[in-house]
Symmetry: C2
Amino acid sequence: MRTYINNINNLEDGSIIEIDGWVQEIRKIKKLLFLIVRDNTGSVQVTVKDNMVKNYDSIYNISRESVIKVSGKLNKKSISKSGVEILANEIIILNTAETPLPMGVIDLVDVDFDTRLNNRFIDLRKPENLIIFKFESELLFGIREYMNKNNFIEVHTPKIVAAATEGGADLFPVQYFEKRAYLNQSPQLYKEILMSSGFDRVFEVGPAFRAEKENTVRHLNEFTSIDIEMSFSDDETVMRMLENAIAYSVNRADSILGKELKGLGYSIEEVRPPFPRIEYSELINYLNDNGFKLNFGDDFSPEAMKFVSKKYNGFYFITKWPKDLRPFYTMPDDTNRNVTRSFDLQLRDIEVCSGAQRIHDYNMLENSFNEKGLNKNNFEFYIKAFKYGMPPHAGWGLGLERLVMNLLNLSNVRESTLFPRDRSRLSP
Amino acid sequence: MRTYINNINNLEDGSIIEIDGWVQEIRKIKKLLFLIVRDNTGSVQVTVKDNMVKNYDSIYNISRESVIKVSGKLNKKSISKSGVEILANEIIILNTAETPLPMGVIDLVDVDFDTRLNNRFIDLRKPENLIIFKFESELLFGIREYMNKNNFIEVHTPKIVAAATEGGADLFPVQYFEKRAYLNQSPQLYKEILMSSGFDRVFEVGPAFRAEKENTVRHLNEFTSIDIEMSFSDDETVMRMLENAIAYSVNRADSILGKELKGLGYSIEEVRPPFPRIEYSELINYLNDNGFKLNFGDDFSPEAMKFVSKKYNGFYFITKWPKDLRPFYTMPDDTNRNVTRSFDLQLRDIEVCSGAQRIHDYNMLENSFNEKGLNKNNFEFYIKAFKYGMPPHAGWGLGLERLVMNLLNLSNVRESTLFPRDRSRLSP
C-alpha cells in the first residue's frame, strides 16, 4: 500500500513502506546514493546502498524528475536534514525523464514567466505552485458547501449562445454548424431566466469568456466565474450572502491548508464579516479631498484604488455606482435614479466581485435597453421571461482566479490559473 | 420573514406568516377568492376576503403566474383539499403576468417539446421539471464531496484550445483574436498534463463541446462532463472510485429528495457497488449466442444494448474494448495488444461513462499517434509532458445530464438539461 510522504511521520520507526514520486535531487557519496523523492504532499530522503537493491546500477544513473516506486524501511533516527529517511529495498523505475529538463523544479535560477507557462507541466511541480491550486479547490468547495446549506441549486447554463450578454463588444465568435454564435461572457441572462422559472436561488461555477484586448496582470480572456442569483431578494441580502460565503470558505480553507501555506511563504488573514460599505460618491469625495481630480461618473484608476486601499486594506464594498458605469440589467436606486443598487467587492485595490439588485419590471428593462442603445430584438429569449411573472431578484459574479490571486498576494492572475488564456497565449 | 411553503406544516395554527410566490390557480366563489400560490418548495391555498385586504379589486383581477407577496394568518383546520390555508391580510403584487401565457404551468394539455423549450422559463416552473435540477445539483454535490474526501483537487482547464483532443472531427471552431481555435471536446489532455505535474488526483466539472451532427434523444452538443484522473493508479482502481462515487452520491441525493421525487412520479433505486464487470468479447459471444451477428471490433447497436439490459438492468461495466474503438491515449492490455484496459459504465442500455488506464510511456504514445493517423506535431503541448516524468495514470469522464436522464428514467437528455444545445437549437 502506498504511503503519501506527509503521512510518514505518523508511522513507526522501522516500518516497511512504499512511496511513489519524482526524483527531485540526487547526491552521491562514493557508492552511497541519496535521492530526494517528491510527491504531491512533500519530499523525503531515500537512501540507496549498493547491496540493497537489485537494479542499483540503473538507479545510480537515474535522471532527475524520473518517476519511481520505492519500497523500504523507515528510519526516523536518520542523520539526514529532516531526521527521516527510507532505506530502499526495492526501487522500480516507472518512467525515465529525458535530460536536460526544459526547466528545473528546485533550481533557484530565475526563469521568465513565458518559459514557465510554456513548460507549465514542470512549473506546477513546484510545491509553491501546486499549493495555489489545492487552496483554490478547497476555497471553492467551501463556497459550494455554503451555497448548498443555503438551498442554492447549482446549475449549468450554456456557454455557446446566440446573443451578447453585455452588448456586442468583447465576444469570441463560434461557428455553430451553419449559424454564427458566441462564447458567453457571463451566465447573467440565464441566471435571471431561472429566477422567472422559480428556481429561487441558483449558483453556477463555470468558464466565462471575454475577448478583451487588455493584456495586464489582472486580465484573463477565459476565467472561472462563480455566480449566484436569488429571488425575492435585494442588493443588501446578496452582499451579506457574499461576505459570509467568503468568510466561511476562506477560513475553512485556511484551517485545512494554513500550515502548508505558511511553510511555502503564503499567509491568509482571517476574514471577518461584515465588510465596510462605502458609497461610490463618498469615495469620489474622499479622493478629491486627497488631491485626485475625479468627477461623478468617472471610474477609479489603479492609482486611485491603490490610495483607497491604504485606508481599507481588507475586503470592502463600493456601493451605489452611477448608472452609466453599470450594465443594462442593473436596478436604479429608488431615491436617486442616476445611481444604481449595485456593488463591487474589493480586496485591497482589486475588484473581485460585482453584483446588484436587478431590474425585474418589463417596461423598465425595455427603457434600459433603449438608454444603453441596445437592440432588444437580440434579447427576445431573455426579455420574454420578464413578461409572465419575474420576481424581484439580485445576485453577483465572482472571479475565482482573481480572488485567489489577491488572497495569496500573487503578482499575476496567471499564477492562479492552470493554463491561462490571454491576448497572445492559447497553449498549452 | 419569508416562510417557504414546505415549512408551513411545521408552524403553529394561527401563526402570522409571509410567503412569496406565483399565482398558479384562481377560483372565485362570489366575492370569495381562492388563490393557489406556488414557490420552489410547494403550493398552498390563499383565501382572500373582500374586507380583509386593501387592494381587493386588483387582487380579484390578478392574472395567473403573477408574482405576489402574501401576509396572513395560517389556518390548519381549513376545509380546503390540503387542510391548510392562509387567510390573507395583505397581498403585494410584485409583478403582473401578461395574458395569455405562451403555455400553461399546470394545464394538462400536451405541448410539444419544441414549444416547451422555446418557453423553457415557464416549462421549468412545473414542479416535475424543477425537481430534475434539484436532483442534479444534489447528485453533483455528493460526487464532489466524495472526491474531496478522497483528496482530489478540483481543477478548471481551458475550454478554448489550439488542438483537437480526439482527432480533427466534431470540433466547433472559435475565432481567438487573430488565431483559429476550438472548443474543447474533453479535458482529457489537460488532466493528463496535470498528472505529469504531480497533482496526483484531479477532478473537473465543466462544459464539453462536440460538433456531432447526430440529433438523437441521447445527444447534446454541449454537455456537462465530470472528469477524474488519478496517478499511480489503474483501470480497476478508477472503476472502484467511480462505482463508489455514484453509489454515495445517488443514495445521498435520494435520502434528501426521495420523498419529493416520489411525490412527483420519480423513483430512485438504491445503488449497491460493486457493479458487474463484463468483458467486451464475452458480450459479443453472448449476443451472437442470442441471434445477433457481431464481429470482434463492432460497436454495439442500440438494439443489442436493449437486449443486454434485459440481463443487466442496473449499472454494469463493459471492459477490455478493442483498440480500434478507443482513443489514442488508451493503454493496451498487457496480454492481448488488440484490446485495451478500458471500460464503459452502462446504466441499463445507455453508456454514461467512459474510462481507461492511459498510456504513460512516451514511445508507446508516439506509436499510438501513428497508428491512429494523427499528426503528433499538433499535440506538442501535450506530449512534452510525457518526456520528463509522467507517472502511470487512469481516469474517466462521466456525462452529468445522461446520468440524470437515466437515473430518473427520462425519455430525452434534453429533459435533464436546462437550456439544451443541439443540431438545430441555439436558443434560449
